[in-house]
């Protein structure tokens, strides 16, 4: 049985599982002001999403946004395969800034499942362009640190 007691101004209820599992009669106004994930309700990219991690302010942030935007709007199959021109500057920038980790970054991700897939696809697209870039570099011997 549940029971309760009062200690000064503090009231304490010890509730059993049986009592607590009955449906609640409390009426609480649901007001969702959750931070949106990667995509805003209007379909745009949420640049405040924690999923962007430090890419949002790092030295390749502008390139990152271009790449991300292209992928976001891509209707190609596989998604992002039409984003080579937007991906390349980012890939180049990343290569020039060693120490920036492109995969798995983002200090706090809270994406919903679709967005997670969305994100994975993005990084796959990036990887493809990165390999292209590396192989072209090998032939050209472009001087980049």
């Amino acid at each position: 049985m549940s029971y309760c007691k009062q200690e000064g101004k503090d009231r304490i209820i010890f509730a059993t599982k049986e009592d607590q599992e009955k449906p609640s009669t409390a009426i609480i106004i649901e007001s969702i002001d959750e931070e949106p994930g990667l995509t805003l309700p209007n379909g745009d990219i949420n640049w405040h999403c924690p999923c962007h991690g430090s890419d949002i302010f790092g030295p390749c942030a502008v390139e990152y946004r271009d790449a991300r935007t292209c992928f976001h709007n891509s209707k190609a199959d596989p998604r992002g395969s039409d984003c080579h021109d937007s991906m390349m500057p980012w890939v180049r920038c990343l290569t020039e800034h060693s120490g920036i980790d492109l995969l798995g970054k983002g200090e706090d991700e809270e994406e919903e499942e679709e967005e997670e897939q969305d994100d994975n696809g993005f990084h796959e697209a990036l990887e493809i362009d990165r390999k292209k870039y590396e192989s072209s570099n090998e032939s050209n011997k472009v001087n980049s640190s």
């Binding site: 549940s2 029971y3 007691k5 009062q6 200690e7 101004k9 503090d10 009231r11 304490i12 209820i13 010890f14 509730a15 059993t16 599982k17 607590q20 599992e21 009955k22 449906p23 609640s24 009669t25 409390a26 009426i27 609480i28 106004i29 649901e30 007001s31 969702i32 002001d33 959750e34 931070e35 309700p41 405040h48 924690p50 962007h52 991690g53 430090s54 302010f57 790092g58 030295p59 942030a61 502008v62 946004r65 920038c93 020039e96 800034h97 060693s98 120490g99 920036i100 995969l103 798995g104 970054k105 200090e107 706090d108 991700e109 809270e110 994406e111 919903e112 997670e116 001087n143 640190s145």
Partner: protein
């Protein structure tokens, strides 16, 4: 004019900062002990058709927290702290700047882009830009989230951070928690707090920052940090700051995120040099490293203070004491730990838990004398007893860093301390304040100042957005959390102040005998202690004017979204045991099982 409603900012004397649920980091799944989520997402998936707030009244009970997944995250890469310059190559800068005729020398660069502004003053140090569109004073968590928000809204923003610390922006909570339970000394050395991942306390590695002296020439902007410098004067009319080295920087938008410094006790402060050598005020990475080292070389450490920081450190040192054979005392004037936060019965119960962590807790005592005797610190307590100890760790609260108020014509709140700002974190035109140093107007709960990690994050982000013109008020309540040993982990939101009346609902264990025993003698707190399971799990509502103004989730992870909704609603005239059902206190909710 609204009267101040809250003293929340003051209620955590050893205030530590928490990582919030706002954007769950990966780092709550701290291995061996109580796993709780900083990394949680409590997404309350609405089954209803509309997500518009207000009008429609919906029951959230059945659907709340239905998806609480932690997406593994964060390469908070390990980092070469304190070496802001260095790791970047010259080639990267020229390619990045897009300014083909990048300056060959720094001074020339500064001069060419800022001609006319230098007038007759001595030329600035070569590493200091003369102008910053966004100038952030302070390099902690509030500042970090501010510049992230600035860059999110203004992609090419040039942000200059002036930090007194010689470390890149980092999170402080692990310094009094996770790092002490890190078993691998190499990880401690690298400040990696996570038991299995290489997440470090640094928000981002050095590679993400740009050289401050090149900032004016980067057409894509970036964030540069000037380390080891202090702003001594802020001229709000001229939009200019003066640094301790005599240089001046003009700005367009300025953030003050100067945080605070640990308070000391007068009696300790006046006790002389030998005592000072054996006193640790705990705040920074350097403080952590010093105390960590001390714990390997000493026999007795006494923590002074019963707030968050003091209690967490006592538990941490108790654990460390088991390994290193040191004795740990915790002494404070209140009757139990976290007495300014927890209702008295819960404070006492928690004190037992702290004691169980190898801590000799000495409540109800203040320190009246401090002297140096035979190489030790002798503490004369109010009871007349003298306590001898090798080191003392003083954790008696934080003093917000508000020196700029005097020179800058900014207002200090006489009740809560800190710079007074409006609901948008704005102090004066083009000046915002976030984090510990900000006394802000919370539209729902009144004027407050909050010393918690998550608040630094929430307010920093808000200030950053507003610096780009967002004009948003503070509406998203920050949260905080603490862990005290394996049996106590909690999160809270709103005004969690033990002077308020509370209503708590705890999960009663199925074993009825102990509970009956307790109820037979309701006057005696001892009787309660015969049923130690009773306070294991539950929710505490803090009340003011019939409204719920604070929610404490006691060993109930992944429920902050529900708590936030209760807080927003106020639950006026509701039966709180019915409201408690929304938290499913008897169920185990975790990030993986909840969806199924």
């Amino acid at each position: 004019m609204k009267p101040p409603l809250s003293k929340l900012g003051d209620l955590a004397p050893g205030a530590w900062r928490d990582v919030g649920d706002l954007a769950p980091g990966a780092w709550r799944d701290v291995g061996n002990t109580q796993v709780q989520a900083v990394g949680q997402t409590e997404s309350t998936k609405s089954t209803s058709t509309t997500s518009t707030p207000s009008t429609a009244q919906q029951k959230i009970g059945t659907t709340s927290s239905s998806s609480e997944t932690v997406v593994k995250s964060a390469a908070l890469q390990s980092n070469t702290a304190g070496s802001p310059e260095g790791s970047r190559s010259a080639t990267s800068d020229t390619s990045e700047s897009g300014v083909s005729s990048a300056p060959t020398t720094d001074t020339a660069g500064a001069a060419s882009s800022q001609e006319g502004t230098q007038a007759a003053v001595t030329p600035p140090e070569s590493d200091i830009p003369v102008h910053a569109p966004y100038l952030l004073i302070g390099g902690g968590t509030a500042s970090f989230y501010a510049f992230k928000a600035i860059k999110a809204n203004d992609p090419r923003a040039k942000v200059l951070v002036i930090s007194e610390e010689n470390h890149l922006p980092y999170m402080r909570p692990p310094l009094s928690k996770d790092l002490w339970f890190q078993t691998d000394p190499e990880k401690v050395e690298k400040l990696e707090y996570h038991p299995t991942q290489n997440f470090s306390v640094f928000h981002a590695s050095n590679a993400y920052y740009v050289d401050p002296k090149k900032l004016p020439h980067l057409d894509k902007g970036g964030v540069g940090i000037l380390h080891g410098r202090r702003v001594i004067y802020l001229d709000a009319m001229a939009k200019k700051v003066h640094l301790d080295d005599g240089s001046e920087i003009t700005y367009d938008k300025c953030l003050i995120a100067t945080g605070g410094r640990p308070k000391n006790l007068k009696v300790v402060e006046n006790a002389g040099e030998e005592i000072a050598k054996r006193t640790i005020l705990f705040r920074t990475i350097d403080d952590f490293q010093r105390l960590y080292k001390v714990c390997q070389e000493t026999k007795t450490v006494t923590v002074v203070g019963g707030g968050f920081l003091g209690s967490e450190l006592a538990v941490a040192l108790g654990n460390s004491g088991l390994l290193n054979g040191i004795k740990v005392n915790q002494i404070f004037p209140e009757s139990g730990v976290l007495a300014k936060v927890l209702p008295e019965y819960l404070s006492k119960w928690t004190t037992r838990r702290v004691e169980a962590e190898n801590v000799n807790v000495i409540p109800n005592q203040s320190i009246e004398t401090v002297s140096y005797e035979n190489g030790q610190v002798a503490l004369g307590l109010s009871s007349g007893i003298t306590l001898k100890t090798d080191y003392i760790v003083v954790a008696v609260g934080l003093e917000p860093n508000t020196e700029l108020a005097k020179t800058s014509g900014l207002e200090i709140d006489d009740v809560h301390g800190g710079y007074r700002v409006n609901a948008e974190m704005e102090a004066r035109s083009n000046i915002w304040v976030a984090g510990d140093a900000s006394c802000f107007y919370d539209i729902q709960l009144g004027r407050r100042r909050v010393e918690h990690y998550n608040h630094a994050r929430v307010s920093g982000q808000l200030a950053g957005e507003n610096m780009t013109g967002a004009a948003k008020p503070y509406t998203y309540q920050s949260s905080f959390w603490s862990d005290l040993g394996p049996k106590v982990a909690f999160e809270a939101i709103g005004m969690v102040d033990s002077s308020l009346p509370t209503v708590a609902v705890f999960a009663k264990s199925s074993d009825d005998t102990s509970a009956v025993k307790a109820v037979k003698d309701p006057e005696s707190s001892e009787a309660v202690m015969t049923a130690p399971d009773e306070y294991d799990k539950g929710v505490v509502f803090y009340m003011k004017d019939k409204l719920v103004v604070g929610v404490l989730l006691w060993n109930l992870p992944y429920r902050l979204t529900t708590a936030r909704q209760i807080l927003k609603d106020g639950a006026e005239n509701e039966d709180l045991s019915e409201v408690a059902k929304l938290f499913r206190i008897h169920q185990t909710v975790d990030q993986t099982s909840d969806d199924s």
